[in-house]
Amino acid sequence: MNIRDGRCLDVSGNKDTEGREVIVNNRQDSANQRWRVVYVDKAKKEPTKGLNKEFGMWVNRPFYMVARLPFHRVMEAISANNIVIKRWRKNVTAQQFFFDGVSKTIRSQQWKNYALEKKSNGNSANLGMSSTVTSRWW
C-alpha cells in the first residue's frame, strides 16, 4: 500500500490470467488486492515429479487420455488445431501428454511447447493446442 494516499496494488479487472496488468487502485480489500510476500530463500519450488493432488495428475509423467466409449480410443494431437480420438498405437508420442507442474497445463509429449486449450475462434468449442503461456486459459 502506498502510505501517502492509501492506494494499493491491484490486479486489473480482478482477472486471474497470465500477463494481466497490475495497477494502483483505491483500497477495496478484495482478493485481487491481497498479496503475500515470500522471501526468495523461503520460496517453495514447484515439484517436478509426484502427484499434484489439486489437479489430479502426476507431474511430468506422460499419459494417455483413454475414452470410455467401447473402442477405448485415445486422444491424439493431429495438429495444433485439432485433437481427435484414434486407436492406440505403441510409442506414438502424439497420443501422449503430460502435466507441466510449472505452467499447470497439459502438454503434448510430441510438441512439448504446445499445451491443450479450447480454441476460441467463433463459436467453436474444439479442443486444440497453443504454444503461448496463456494456454492457462479461463
Partner: protein
C-alpha cells in the same frame, strides 16, 4: 487449466469438460469442450488417464483380448444354440 476430476472428467475452470463430439466412437472424431448436463456426465465425457509406463500392451496372437472377449488370431466356429446347432457359414458377403 484442466483438472482430472473424480477419476473421470477433464474439467476446465468454466466447468466444461472434454467430450467426444457427437458421442460417436469413430476414428478421427474431434474432441471438444461441452457442458455437463444436469450434473451428470455422459460416457463420451469420461476418460481414463493411463500413464504410459502402466499402459498394457495389446494382446498378441493366442492371448485373450479382454476388451472383446476373444482370443487374438485363433480361428473359431460360431455355433447356433438352437436345436440343430448349425454353424455360421459365410457365403460370399452373406452369412
Amino acid at each position: 487449466m484442466f483438472r482430472y476430476v473424480n477419476n473421470s472428467t477433464l474439467t476446465n475452470d468454466h466447468g466444461t469438460v472434454m467430450s467426444i463430439n457427437g458421442n460417436l466412437d469413430l476414428e478421427n472424431r474431434n474432441v471438444d469442450m461441452q457442458d455437463i448436463k444436469n450434473g451428470n456426465t455422459t460416457i463420451n465425457q469420461e476418460w481414463d488417464l493411463v500413464y504410459v509406463d502402466q499402459y498394457p500392451d495389446e494382446p498378441k496372437k493366442g492371448e485373450m483380448n479382454n476388451q472383446f472377449g476373444l482370443v487374438v488370431q485363433r480361428p473359431f466356429h460360431i455355433i447356433s444354440e438352437m436345436g440343430e446347432q448349425r454353424y455360421l457359414s459365410a457365403l460370399a458377403s452373406n452369412v
